[in-house]
Symmetry: C2
Subunit: 304 residues, 2 copies
Protein backbone atom coordinates (compact mmCIF):
# COMPACT_ATOMS: atom_id res chain seq x y z
CA UNK A 1 0.00 0.00 0.00
CA UNK A 2 2.22 2.80 -1.18
CA UNK A 3 -0.69 4.96 -2.36
CA UNK A 4 -0.02 8.65 -1.75
CA UNK A 5 -2.63 10.62 0.17
CA UNK A 6 -2.33 14.37 -0.08
CA UNK A 7 -3.11 16.18 3.15
CA UNK A 8 -4.06 19.83 2.79
CA UNK A 9 -3.03 21.64 5.96
CA UNK A 10 -5.82 23.98 7.10
CA UNK A 11 -4.55 24.91 10.57
CA UNK A 12 -3.51 28.48 9.67
CA UNK A 13 -7.05 29.17 8.41
CA UNK A 14 -9.77 26.86 9.75
CA UNK A 15 -7.80 26.09 12.89
CA UNK A 16 -6.77 29.60 13.90
CA UNK A 17 -10.08 31.09 12.79
CA UNK A 18 -11.83 29.12 15.54
CA UNK A 19 -9.39 29.88 18.35
CA UNK A 20 -10.04 32.56 20.95
CA UNK A 21 -6.50 33.90 20.74
CA UNK A 22 -5.81 36.22 17.80
CA UNK A 23 -2.32 35.75 16.38
CA UNK A 24 -0.33 38.36 14.47
CA UNK A 25 0.20 37.88 10.73
CA UNK A 26 3.91 37.32 11.38
CA UNK A 27 3.16 34.36 13.67
CA UNK A 28 0.69 32.95 11.14
CA UNK A 29 3.30 33.18 8.36
CA UNK A 30 5.80 31.48 10.66
CA UNK A 31 3.26 28.68 11.21
CA UNK A 32 3.00 28.20 7.45
CA UNK A 33 6.78 28.04 7.13
CA UNK A 34 7.08 25.52 9.97
CA UNK A 35 4.36 23.36 8.42
CA UNK A 36 6.16 23.43 5.08
CA UNK A 37 9.37 22.43 6.83
CA UNK A 38 7.39 19.47 8.24
CA UNK A 39 6.33 18.42 4.75
CA UNK A 40 3.12 20.32 3.97
CA UNK A 41 2.90 21.19 0.27
CA UNK A 42 -0.64 22.60 0.16
CA UNK A 43 -1.67 24.93 2.96
CA UNK A 44 -4.80 26.96 3.51
CA UNK A 45 -2.84 29.99 4.62
CA UNK A 46 -5.33 32.86 4.74
CA UNK A 47 -8.98 33.85 4.44
CA UNK A 48 -10.08 36.97 2.58
CA UNK A 49 -13.00 37.59 4.86
CA UNK A 50 -13.76 40.94 6.46
CA UNK A 51 -11.87 41.28 9.79
CA UNK A 52 -15.04 42.65 11.36
CA UNK A 53 -16.49 39.13 11.11
CA UNK A 54 -13.33 37.09 11.69
CA UNK A 55 -10.65 39.11 13.49
CA UNK A 56 -8.42 36.01 13.67
CA UNK A 57 -7.94 36.26 9.90
CA UNK A 58 -7.14 40.00 9.72
CA UNK A 59 -4.10 40.95 7.69
CA UNK A 60 -4.24 38.19 5.06
CA UNK A 61 -2.21 40.41 2.71
CA UNK A 62 0.51 40.79 5.35
CA UNK A 63 0.67 37.00 5.85
CA UNK A 64 1.01 36.44 2.12
CA UNK A 65 3.62 39.20 1.73
CA UNK A 66 5.81 37.18 4.09
CA UNK A 67 5.44 34.08 1.88
CA UNK A 68 6.93 34.65 -1.58
CA UNK A 69 6.17 32.03 -4.24
CA UNK A 70 8.16 28.82 -4.01
CA UNK A 71 8.13 26.03 -6.54
CA UNK A 72 6.13 22.99 -5.46
CA UNK A 73 4.38 24.81 -2.65
CA UNK A 74 0.81 25.95 -2.79
CA UNK A 75 -0.67 28.49 -0.40
CA UNK A 76 -4.44 28.70 -0.55
CA UNK A 77 -6.62 31.71 0.18
CA UNK A 78 -10.26 31.19 1.11
CA UNK A 79 -12.84 33.51 -0.43
CA UNK A 80 -16.55 33.82 0.25
CA UNK A 81 -17.47 36.24 -2.54
CA UNK A 82 -16.20 38.43 -5.39
CA UNK A 83 -14.71 40.99 -3.02
CA UNK A 84 -12.65 38.28 -1.40
CA UNK A 85 -11.53 37.17 -4.85
CA UNK A 86 -10.45 40.73 -5.67
CA UNK A 87 -8.31 40.77 -2.54
CA UNK A 88 -6.83 37.35 -3.31
CA UNK A 89 -5.67 38.54 -6.74
CA UNK A 90 -3.57 41.28 -5.14
CA UNK A 91 -1.54 38.68 -3.21
CA UNK A 92 0.78 35.78 -3.94
CA UNK A 93 -1.76 33.02 -3.21
CA UNK A 94 -1.26 30.03 -5.48
CA UNK A 95 -4.81 28.79 -5.13
CA UNK A 96 -8.19 30.27 -4.38
CA UNK A 97 -10.73 28.14 -2.55
CA UNK A 98 -14.31 29.34 -2.86
CA UNK A 99 -16.55 28.29 0.00
CA UNK A 100 -20.22 27.48 -0.56
CA UNK A 101 -22.77 25.86 1.69
CA UNK A 102 -25.00 22.88 0.98
CA UNK A 103 -27.84 24.67 2.79
CA UNK A 104 -29.54 28.04 2.53
CA UNK A 105 -29.45 28.43 6.31
CA UNK A 106 -25.69 28.22 6.63
CA UNK A 107 -25.09 30.15 3.39
CA UNK A 108 -27.18 33.07 4.60
CA UNK A 109 -25.57 33.16 8.05
CA UNK A 110 -22.00 32.59 6.84
CA UNK A 111 -21.87 34.72 3.71
CA UNK A 112 -25.30 36.29 3.26
CA UNK A 113 -26.12 34.19 0.20
CA UNK A 114 -28.68 31.52 -0.59
CA UNK A 115 -27.50 28.38 -2.38
CA UNK A 116 -28.64 29.86 -5.69
CA UNK A 117 -26.75 33.09 -5.08
CA UNK A 118 -23.64 31.18 -3.97
CA UNK A 119 -23.62 29.25 -7.24
CA UNK A 120 -23.96 32.54 -9.18
CA UNK A 121 -21.07 33.99 -7.17
CA UNK A 122 -18.91 30.96 -7.95
CA UNK A 123 -19.93 31.15 -11.63
CA UNK A 124 -18.80 34.77 -11.79
CA UNK A 125 -15.43 33.95 -10.27
CA UNK A 126 -14.98 31.07 -12.70
CA UNK A 127 -15.84 33.40 -15.61
CA UNK A 128 -13.46 36.13 -14.41
CA UNK A 129 -10.71 33.57 -14.02
CA UNK A 130 -11.38 32.17 -17.48
CA UNK A 131 -11.21 35.64 -19.02
CA UNK A 132 -7.84 36.34 -17.43
CA UNK A 133 -6.17 33.03 -18.32
CA UNK A 134 -3.59 34.86 -20.45
CA UNK A 135 -1.83 35.94 -17.30
CA UNK A 136 0.48 33.32 -15.80
CA UNK A 137 -0.15 34.42 -12.25
CA UNK A 138 -3.82 33.43 -12.06
CA UNK A 139 -4.21 31.18 -9.05
CA UNK A 140 -5.82 27.79 -9.47
CA UNK A 141 -9.35 27.32 -8.21
CA UNK A 142 -11.16 24.85 -6.00
CA UNK A 143 -14.49 24.89 -4.21
CA UNK A 144 -15.51 23.66 -0.78
CA UNK A 145 -19.08 22.65 -0.11
CA UNK A 146 -19.80 23.01 3.59
CA UNK A 147 -22.44 21.34 5.79
CA UNK A 148 -22.49 18.22 3.59
CA UNK A 149 -23.25 15.97 6.59
CA UNK A 150 -25.49 18.34 8.52
CA UNK A 151 -26.24 22.02 9.10
CA UNK A 152 -26.55 23.80 12.45
CA UNK A 153 -29.52 25.77 11.06
CA UNK A 154 -31.26 23.52 8.53
CA UNK A 155 -30.51 20.12 10.10
CA UNK A 156 -30.07 17.06 7.93
CA UNK A 157 -28.72 17.32 4.37
CA UNK A 158 -29.77 14.62 1.91
CA UNK A 159 -27.61 12.64 -0.47
CA UNK A 160 -29.72 14.06 -3.31
CA UNK A 161 -29.03 17.65 -2.21
CA UNK A 162 -25.29 16.99 -2.09
CA UNK A 163 -25.31 15.27 -5.46
CA UNK A 164 -27.25 18.12 -7.08
CA UNK A 165 -24.89 20.78 -5.72
CA UNK A 166 -21.72 18.89 -6.55
CA UNK A 167 -23.12 18.40 -10.04
CA UNK A 168 -23.75 22.14 -10.37
CA UNK A 169 -20.23 22.99 -9.16
CA UNK A 170 -18.69 20.39 -11.43
CA UNK A 171 -20.65 21.75 -14.39
CA UNK A 172 -18.89 25.08 -13.87
CA UNK A 173 -15.60 23.31 -14.58
CA UNK A 174 -14.16 23.51 -11.06
CA UNK A 175 -11.38 20.92 -11.00
CA UNK A 176 -11.46 20.02 -7.32
CA UNK A 177 -14.45 19.93 -5.03
CA UNK A 178 -14.10 19.49 -1.27
CA UNK A 179 -16.96 18.01 0.73
CA UNK A 180 -16.86 19.47 4.23
CA UNK A 181 -18.35 18.14 7.45
CA UNK A 182 -18.34 21.64 8.91
CA UNK A 183 -19.87 20.74 12.27
CA UNK A 184 -18.64 17.17 12.63
CA UNK A 185 -22.03 15.53 12.13
CA UNK A 186 -21.05 12.79 9.69
CA UNK A 187 -20.65 9.09 10.29
CA UNK A 188 -18.44 6.89 8.13
CA UNK A 189 -21.33 5.07 6.47
CA UNK A 190 -22.77 8.43 5.38
CA UNK A 191 -19.32 9.46 4.12
CA UNK A 192 -19.29 6.50 1.76
CA UNK A 193 -22.77 7.29 0.45
CA UNK A 194 -22.11 10.99 -0.16
CA UNK A 195 -18.68 10.45 -1.72
CA UNK A 196 -20.25 7.98 -4.14
CA UNK A 197 -23.05 10.43 -4.97
CA UNK A 198 -20.56 13.26 -5.49
CA UNK A 199 -18.43 11.15 -7.79
CA UNK A 200 -21.47 10.22 -9.91
CA UNK A 201 -22.52 13.90 -10.03
CA UNK A 202 -19.10 15.28 -11.03
CA UNK A 203 -17.03 12.45 -12.49
CA UNK A 204 -14.43 14.86 -13.91
CA UNK A 205 -13.69 16.62 -10.64
CA UNK A 206 -11.17 15.51 -8.08
CA UNK A 207 -12.84 15.03 -4.69
CA UNK A 208 -11.35 16.21 -1.43
CA UNK A 209 -12.70 15.70 2.11
CA UNK A 210 -12.72 18.02 5.09
CA UNK A 211 -13.62 16.59 8.49
CA UNK A 212 -14.07 18.02 11.94
CA UNK A 213 -13.59 15.86 15.01
CA UNK A 214 -16.43 17.48 16.95
CA UNK A 215 -17.98 14.12 17.82
CA UNK A 216 -14.83 12.00 17.54
CA UNK A 217 -15.82 10.48 14.20
CA UNK A 218 -13.22 12.42 12.20
CA UNK A 219 -10.66 9.68 11.61
CA UNK A 220 -13.36 7.07 11.02
CA UNK A 221 -14.78 9.39 8.36
CA UNK A 222 -11.32 9.91 6.87
CA UNK A 223 -10.80 6.15 6.71
CA UNK A 224 -14.17 5.70 4.99
CA UNK A 225 -13.26 8.44 2.51
CA UNK A 226 -9.91 6.87 1.65
CA UNK A 227 -11.60 3.50 1.25
CA UNK A 228 -14.09 5.18 -1.10
CA UNK A 229 -11.15 6.27 -3.24
CA UNK A 230 -10.57 9.87 -2.18
CA UNK A 231 -6.89 10.91 -2.25
CA UNK A 232 -7.02 14.44 -0.77
CA UNK A 233 -7.93 15.22 2.83
CA UNK A 234 -7.86 18.40 4.92
CA UNK A 235 -6.44 18.43 8.45
CA UNK A 236 -5.25 20.96 10.99
CA UNK A 237 -1.93 20.75 12.84
CA UNK A 238 -2.51 19.92 16.51
CA UNK A 239 -6.23 19.58 15.87
CA UNK A 240 -6.43 23.27 16.73
CA UNK A 241 -9.65 25.17 16.23
CA UNK A 242 -13.10 24.36 17.46
CA UNK A 243 -16.70 24.64 16.47
CA UNK A 244 -18.75 27.80 16.97
CA UNK A 245 -21.85 25.61 17.26
CA UNK A 246 -20.45 23.26 19.90
CA UNK A 247 -18.49 25.13 22.57
CA UNK A 248 -15.81 22.92 24.09
CA UNK A 249 -15.50 20.77 20.98
CA UNK A 250 -12.21 20.18 19.17
CA UNK A 251 -11.58 21.41 15.65
CA UNK A 252 -10.52 19.78 12.41
CA UNK A 253 -9.02 16.33 12.51
CA UNK A 254 -5.40 16.71 13.59
CA UNK A 255 -2.81 16.48 10.83
CA UNK A 256 -0.45 14.38 12.93
CA UNK A 257 -3.22 11.96 13.92
CA UNK A 258 -4.19 11.52 10.26
CA UNK A 259 -0.57 11.15 9.14
CA UNK A 260 0.00 8.56 11.86
CA UNK A 261 -3.07 6.50 10.92
CA UNK A 262 -2.27 6.57 7.21
CA UNK A 263 1.46 5.92 7.45
CA UNK A 264 0.96 3.15 10.01
CA UNK A 265 -1.21 1.47 7.37
CA UNK A 266 1.46 1.91 4.71
CA UNK A 267 0.23 5.02 2.88
CA UNK A 268 2.59 7.87 2.04
CA UNK A 269 1.85 11.46 3.01
CA UNK A 270 5.19 13.25 2.63
CA UNK A 271 5.04 14.59 6.20
CA UNK A 272 7.68 14.29 8.91
CA UNK A 273 5.62 13.18 11.90
CA UNK A 274 8.12 14.30 14.54
CA UNK A 275 8.38 17.78 12.99
CA UNK A 276 4.57 17.96 12.82
CA UNK A 277 4.23 17.09 16.51
CA UNK A 278 6.84 19.71 17.35
CA UNK A 279 4.88 22.27 15.31
CA UNK A 280 1.66 21.27 17.10
CA UNK A 281 3.35 21.96 20.44
CA UNK A 282 4.74 25.27 19.15
CA UNK A 283 1.34 26.53 17.99
CA UNK A 284 -0.27 25.23 21.18
CA UNK A 285 2.17 27.36 23.18
CA UNK A 286 1.43 30.38 20.94
CA UNK A 287 -2.29 29.87 21.59
CA UNK A 288 -1.80 29.38 25.32
CA UNK A 289 -3.28 25.89 25.45
CA UNK A 290 -2.02 22.39 24.66
CA UNK A 291 -2.83 21.12 21.16
CA UNK A 292 -5.69 18.61 21.48
CA UNK A 293 -4.28 16.04 19.05
CA UNK A 294 -3.70 12.52 20.33
CA UNK A 295 -0.24 12.08 18.81
CA UNK A 296 1.13 15.19 20.51
CA UNK A 297 0.15 13.60 23.84
CA UNK A 298 0.65 9.87 23.30
CA UNK A 299 3.47 9.74 20.73
CA UNK A 300 3.91 7.18 17.97
CA UNK A 301 3.77 3.44 17.92
CA UNK A 302 6.23 1.88 17.47
CA UNK A 303 8.31 4.29 19.56
CA UNK A 304 11.08 5.99 17.64
CA UNK B 1 -29.71 -0.77 8.91
CA UNK B 2 -31.36 -1.98 12.08
CA UNK B 3 -28.52 -4.36 12.94
CA UNK B 4 -27.95 -4.56 16.69
CA UNK B 5 -24.43 -3.95 17.99
CA UNK B 6 -23.81 -5.04 21.54
CA UNK B 7 -21.58 -2.68 23.49
CA UNK B 8 -19.88 -4.17 26.52
CA UNK B 9 -19.32 -1.41 29.05
CA UNK B 10 -15.81 -1.66 30.52
CA UNK B 11 -15.58 1.66 32.35
CA UNK B 12 -15.91 0.21 35.87
CA UNK B 13 -12.91 -2.07 35.16
CA UNK B 14 -10.60 -0.94 32.34
CA UNK B 15 -11.58 2.70 32.76
CA UNK B 16 -11.27 3.03 36.53
CA UNK B 17 -8.23 0.76 36.67
CA UNK B 18 -6.26 3.35 34.71
CA UNK B 19 -7.37 6.42 36.66
CA UNK B 20 -5.24 8.00 39.36
CA UNK B 21 -8.19 8.39 41.73
CA UNK B 22 -9.15 5.24 43.65
CA UNK B 23 -12.91 4.94 44.12
CA UNK B 24 -14.66 3.03 46.89
CA UNK B 25 -16.47 -0.20 46.01
CA UNK B 26 -19.79 1.52 46.79
CA UNK B 27 -19.13 4.19 44.16
CA UNK B 28 -18.07 1.56 41.64
CA UNK B 29 -21.28 -0.43 42.25
CA UNK B 30 -23.26 2.80 41.84
CA UNK B 31 -21.51 3.36 38.50
CA UNK B 32 -22.61 -0.11 37.37
CA UNK B 33 -26.20 0.62 38.40
CA UNK B 34 -26.21 3.99 36.60
CA UNK B 35 -24.80 2.37 33.45
CA UNK B 36 -27.48 -0.30 33.58
CA UNK B 37 -30.11 2.42 33.94
CA UNK B 38 -28.62 3.97 30.77
CA UNK B 39 -29.07 0.70 28.90
CA UNK B 40 -25.90 -1.33 29.50
CA UNK B 41 -26.66 -5.06 29.65
CA UNK B 42 -23.11 -6.45 29.80
CA UNK B 43 -20.66 -4.68 32.08
CA UNK B 44 -17.11 -5.51 33.05
CA UNK B 45 -17.75 -4.71 36.68
CA UNK B 46 -14.70 -5.96 38.57
CA UNK B 47 -11.22 -7.44 38.28
CA UNK B 48 -10.01 -10.25 40.53
CA UNK B 49 -6.45 -9.03 40.52
CA UNK B 50 -4.37 -8.59 43.67
CA UNK B 51 -4.91 -5.10 45.12
CA UNK B 52 -1.17 -4.79 45.61
CA UNK B 53 -0.85 -4.51 41.83
CA UNK B 54 -4.07 -2.64 41.03
CA UNK B 55 -5.39 -0.75 44.08
CA UNK B 56 -8.18 0.78 41.94
CA UNK B 57 -9.77 -2.68 41.74
CA UNK B 58 -9.57 -3.57 45.45
CA UNK B 59 -12.76 -4.94 47.00
CA UNK B 60 -14.20 -6.71 43.96
CA UNK B 61 -16.22 -8.93 46.29
CA UNK B 62 -17.75 -5.85 47.95
CA UNK B 63 -18.72 -4.40 44.57
CA UNK B 64 -20.38 -7.66 43.55
CA UNK B 65 -22.17 -8.05 46.90
CA UNK B 66 -23.92 -4.76 46.10
CA UNK B 67 -25.10 -6.12 42.75
CA UNK B 68 -27.43 -9.10 43.21
CA UNK B 69 -28.28 -11.15 40.09
CA UNK B 70 -30.85 -9.60 37.80
CA UNK B 71 -32.37 -11.28 34.78
CA UNK B 72 -31.01 -10.04 31.47
CA UNK B 73 -28.02 -8.32 33.03
CA UNK B 74 -24.52 -9.66 32.92
CA UNK B 75 -21.74 -8.46 35.19
CA UNK B 76 -18.30 -9.63 34.13
CA UNK B 77 -15.31 -10.26 36.36
CA UNK B 78 -11.84 -10.22 34.85
CA UNK B 79 -9.38 -12.91 35.92
CA UNK B 80 -5.70 -13.32 35.12
CA UNK B 81 -5.14 -16.77 36.64
CA UNK B 82 -6.66 -19.65 38.64
CA UNK B 83 -6.56 -17.69 41.89
CA UNK B 84 -8.63 -14.95 40.29
CA UNK B 85 -11.04 -17.61 39.05
CA UNK B 86 -11.35 -18.98 42.61
CA UNK B 87 -12.29 -15.52 43.82
CA UNK B 88 -14.76 -15.00 40.98
CA UNK B 89 -16.63 -18.20 41.92
CA UNK B 90 -17.30 -16.85 45.41
CA UNK B 91 -19.20 -13.87 43.96
CA UNK B 92 -22.31 -13.21 41.89
CA UNK B 93 -20.46 -12.50 38.61
CA UNK B 94 -22.44 -13.73 35.63
CA UNK B 95 -19.42 -14.01 33.36
CA UNK B 96 -15.72 -14.57 33.77
CA UNK B 97 -13.37 -12.98 31.26
CA UNK B 98 -9.91 -14.52 31.17
CA UNK B 99 -7.21 -12.17 29.93
CA UNK B 100 -4.28 -13.43 27.90
CA UNK B 101 -1.64 -11.59 25.91
CA UNK B 102 -0.62 -12.10 22.30
CA UNK B 103 3.00 -11.60 23.34
CA UNK B 104 5.36 -13.11 25.88
CA UNK B 105 6.59 -9.65 26.88
CA UNK B 106 3.22 -8.33 27.96
CA UNK B 107 2.13 -11.68 29.41
CA UNK B 108 5.17 -11.83 31.66
CA UNK B 109 4.84 -8.21 32.82
CA UNK B 110 1.07 -8.27 33.25
CA UNK B 111 0.51 -11.70 34.77
CA UNK B 112 3.90 -13.40 35.06
CA UNK B 113 3.09 -15.95 32.35
CA UNK B 114 4.47 -16.68 28.90
CA UNK B 115 1.99 -17.24 26.07
CA UNK B 116 2.35 -21.00 26.55
CA UNK B 117 1.67 -20.75 30.28
CA UNK B 118 -1.29 -18.45 29.68
CA UNK B 119 -2.87 -21.00 27.37
CA UNK B 120 -2.34 -23.71 30.01
CA UNK B 121 -3.93 -21.45 32.61
CA UNK B 122 -6.94 -20.87 30.38
CA UNK B 123 -7.16 -24.59 29.63
CA UNK B 124 -7.28 -25.37 33.34
CA UNK B 125 -10.08 -22.86 33.93
CA UNK B 126 -12.03 -24.30 30.99
CA UNK B 127 -11.58 -27.82 32.43
CA UNK B 128 -12.64 -26.76 35.92
CA UNK B 129 -15.68 -25.03 34.49
CA UNK B 130 -16.55 -28.11 32.44
CA UNK B 131 -16.28 -30.36 35.49
CA UNK B 132 -18.67 -28.17 37.50
CA UNK B 133 -21.34 -27.78 34.82
CA UNK B 134 -23.89 -29.54 37.04
CA UNK B 135 -24.18 -26.39 39.10
CA UNK B 136 -26.48 -23.74 37.63
CA UNK B 137 -24.48 -20.87 39.00
CA UNK B 138 -21.36 -21.40 36.94
CA UNK B 139 -20.62 -18.11 35.17
CA UNK B 140 -20.17 -18.07 31.42
CA UNK B 141 -16.69 -17.71 30.03
CA UNK B 142 -14.96 -15.50 27.51
CA UNK B 143 -11.34 -14.69 26.75
CA UNK B 144 -9.62 -11.46 25.83
CA UNK B 145 -6.41 -11.51 23.83
CA UNK B 146 -4.47 -8.32 24.53
CA UNK B 147 -1.80 -6.55 22.45
CA UNK B 148 -3.27 -7.82 19.18
CA UNK B 149 -2.21 -4.67 17.32
CA UNK B 150 1.08 -4.05 19.10
CA UNK B 151 2.90 -4.62 22.39
CA UNK B 152 4.75 -2.03 24.48
CA UNK B 153 7.49 -4.59 25.13
CA UNK B 154 7.68 -6.84 22.07
CA UNK B 155 6.61 -4.33 19.40
CA UNK B 156 4.71 -5.46 16.32
CA UNK B 157 2.40 -8.49 16.45
CA UNK B 158 1.87 -10.39 13.20
CA UNK B 159 -1.39 -11.56 11.67
CA UNK B 160 -0.02 -15.10 11.86
CA UNK B 161 0.65 -14.79 15.59
CA UNK B 162 -2.88 -13.55 16.22
CA UNK B 163 -4.41 -16.28 14.05
CA UNK B 164 -2.43 -18.99 15.83
CA UNK B 165 -3.42 -17.80 19.29
CA UNK B 166 -7.07 -17.26 18.44
CA UNK B 167 -7.06 -20.76 16.97
CA UNK B 168 -5.62 -22.18 20.20
CA UNK B 169 -8.20 -20.34 22.33
CA UNK B 170 -11.02 -21.41 20.04
CA UNK B 171 -9.84 -25.02 20.19
CA UNK B 172 -10.41 -24.92 23.96
CA UNK B 173 -14.09 -24.27 23.27
CA UNK B 174 -14.21 -20.67 24.48
CA UNK B 175 -17.39 -19.23 22.97
CA UNK B 176 -16.38 -15.59 22.70
CA UNK B 177 -12.91 -14.20 22.00
CA UNK B 178 -12.16 -10.50 22.31
CA UNK B 179 -9.28 -9.01 20.33
CA UNK B 180 -7.86 -6.08 22.27
CA UNK B 181 -5.81 -3.13 21.06
CA UNK B 182 -4.43 -2.65 24.54
CA UNK B 183 -2.18 0.31 23.75
CA UNK B 184 -4.13 1.87 20.87
CA UNK B 185 -1.64 0.92 18.17
CA UNK B 186 -4.03 -0.40 15.54
CA UNK B 187 -5.17 1.18 12.32
CA UNK B 188 -8.46 0.30 10.62
CA UNK B 189 -6.83 -1.57 7.74
CA UNK B 190 -4.99 -3.79 10.23
CA UNK B 191 -8.27 -4.31 12.12
CA UNK B 192 -9.84 -5.77 8.99
CA UNK B 193 -6.89 -8.10 8.40
CA UNK B 194 -6.72 -9.42 11.96
CA UNK B 195 -10.47 -9.85 12.32
CA UNK B 196 -10.49 -11.90 9.13
CA UNK B 197 -7.56 -14.01 10.37
CA UNK B 198 -9.27 -14.56 13.73
CA UNK B 199 -12.50 -15.62 12.09
CA UNK B 200 -10.67 -18.14 9.92
CA UNK B 201 -8.79 -19.45 12.97
CA UNK B 202 -11.85 -19.85 15.21
CA UNK B 203 -14.95 -19.98 13.01
CA UNK B 204 -17.14 -21.24 15.87
CA UNK B 205 -16.29 -18.42 18.28
CA UNK B 206 -18.05 -15.09 18.46
CA UNK B 207 -15.55 -12.25 18.02
CA UNK B 208 -15.53 -9.11 20.12
CA UNK B 209 -13.32 -6.04 19.76
CA UNK B 210 -11.72 -3.84 22.40
CA UNK B 211 -10.18 -0.55 21.30
CA UNK B 212 -8.28 2.20 23.05
CA UNK B 213 -8.30 5.72 21.68
CA UNK B 214 -4.66 6.39 22.58
CA UNK B 215 -3.86 7.65 19.07
CA UNK B 216 -7.37 8.72 18.07
CA UNK B 217 -7.93 5.73 15.80
CA UNK B 218 -10.45 4.07 18.14
CA UNK B 219 -13.68 4.87 16.31
CA UNK B 220 -12.09 4.27 12.91
CA UNK B 221 -11.05 0.85 14.21
CA UNK B 222 -14.54 0.22 15.56
CA UNK B 223 -16.04 1.15 12.19
CA UNK B 224 -13.65 -1.23 10.41
CA UNK B 225 -14.57 -3.98 12.87
CA UNK B 226 -18.31 -3.52 12.36
CA UNK B 227 -17.78 -3.50 8.60
CA UNK B 228 -15.83 -6.74 8.99
CA UNK B 229 -18.92 -8.24 10.62
CA UNK B 230 -18.17 -8.01 14.34
CA UNK B 231 -21.27 -7.39 16.49
CA UNK B 232 -19.74 -6.92 19.96
CA UNK B 233 -17.54 -3.99 20.98
CA UNK B 234 -16.10 -2.83 24.29
CA UNK B 235 -16.25 0.83 25.35
CA UNK B 236 -15.85 2.87 28.51
CA UNK B 237 -18.32 5.52 29.68
CA UNK B 238 -16.83 9.00 29.30
CA UNK B 239 -13.74 7.50 27.69
CA UNK B 240 -12.31 7.34 31.20
CA UNK B 241 -9.06 5.55 31.84
CA UNK B 242 -5.74 6.00 30.18
CA UNK B 243 -2.71 4.07 29.10
CA UNK B 244 0.15 3.20 31.46
CA UNK B 245 2.48 3.20 28.45
CA UNK B 246 1.45 6.64 27.12
CA UNK B 247 1.04 9.16 29.95
CA UNK B 248 -1.50 11.83 29.00
CA UNK B 249 -3.35 9.55 26.59
CA UNK B 250 -7.07 8.88 26.81
CA UNK B 251 -8.47 5.47 27.62
CA UNK B 252 -10.91 3.12 25.92
CA UNK B 253 -13.14 4.47 23.20
CA UNK B 254 -15.98 6.33 24.91
CA UNK B 255 -19.29 4.49 25.08
CA UNK B 256 -21.32 7.59 24.23
CA UNK B 257 -19.09 8.40 21.23
CA UNK B 258 -19.51 4.84 19.92
CA UNK B 259 -23.27 4.83 20.58
CA UNK B 260 -23.57 8.16 18.77
CA UNK B 261 -21.63 7.01 15.71
CA UNK B 262 -23.54 3.74 15.45
CA UNK B 263 -27.02 5.09 16.09
CA UNK B 264 -26.46 8.05 13.75
CA UNK B 265 -25.78 5.43 11.07
CA UNK B 266 -28.96 3.52 11.91
CA UNK B 267 -27.62 0.73 14.12
CA UNK B 268 -29.29 -0.16 17.41
CA UNK B 269 -27.37 -0.34 20.68
CA UNK B 270 -30.05 -0.28 23.37
CA UNK B 271 -28.41 2.66 25.14
CA UNK B 272 -30.02 5.97 26.15
CA UNK B 273 -27.47 8.51 24.92
CA UNK B 274 -28.60 11.34 27.21
CA UNK B 275 -28.41 9.09 30.27
CA UNK B 276 -24.97 7.90 29.19
CA UNK B 277 -23.70 11.46 28.85
CA UNK B 278 -25.11 12.26 32.29
CA UNK B 279 -23.32 9.20 33.69
CA UNK B 280 -20.08 10.30 32.00
CA UNK B 281 -20.35 13.67 33.73
CA UNK B 282 -21.15 12.00 37.05
CA UNK B 283 -18.11 9.71 36.95
CA UNK B 284 -15.96 12.61 35.74
CA UNK B 285 -16.97 14.56 38.83
CA UNK B 286 -16.24 11.54 41.04
CA UNK B 287 -12.77 11.29 39.48
CA UNK B 288 -12.16 15.03 39.77
CA UNK B 289 -11.67 15.64 36.05
CA UNK B 290 -14.01 16.10 33.08
CA UNK B 291 -14.72 12.96 31.07
CA UNK B 292 -12.67 13.12 27.86
CA UNK B 293 -15.42 11.88 25.52
CA UNK B 294 -16.44 14.11 22.62
CA UNK B 295 -20.19 13.69 23.10
CA UNK B 296 -20.07 14.85 26.71
CA UNK B 297 -18.52 18.11 25.44
CA UNK B 298 -20.12 18.67 22.03
CA UNK B 299 -23.56 17.05 22.43
CA UNK B 300 -25.52 15.22 19.74
CA UNK B 301 -26.36 16.07 16.18
CA UNK B 302 -29.17 16.68 15.46
CA UNK B 303 -29.74 18.56 18.72
CA UNK B 304 -32.48 17.03 20.88
Amino acid sequence: MSRFIQIVEVGPRDGLQNEKAVLDPAVRAELVRRLEAAGARRIEAVSFVHPKYVPQMAGAETVMAALPHEAGRSRIGLVLNGRGYDRALTTAVDEVNVSLSATDGFGLKNQGLTIKDQLSMLGEIVARRHNSQTSDVVPSLSATLSCVWGCPFDGEVSVQQVGDLVGAIGALGVGEIALADTIGAGDPWAVTRKVEAARRAAPEARLRLHFHDTRNTGLANAYAGVEAGVDVLDASVGGIGGCPFAPGATGNIATEDLVYMLERAGFQTGYDLDALIETARWIGAALGRPAPSALSRAGCFPRR
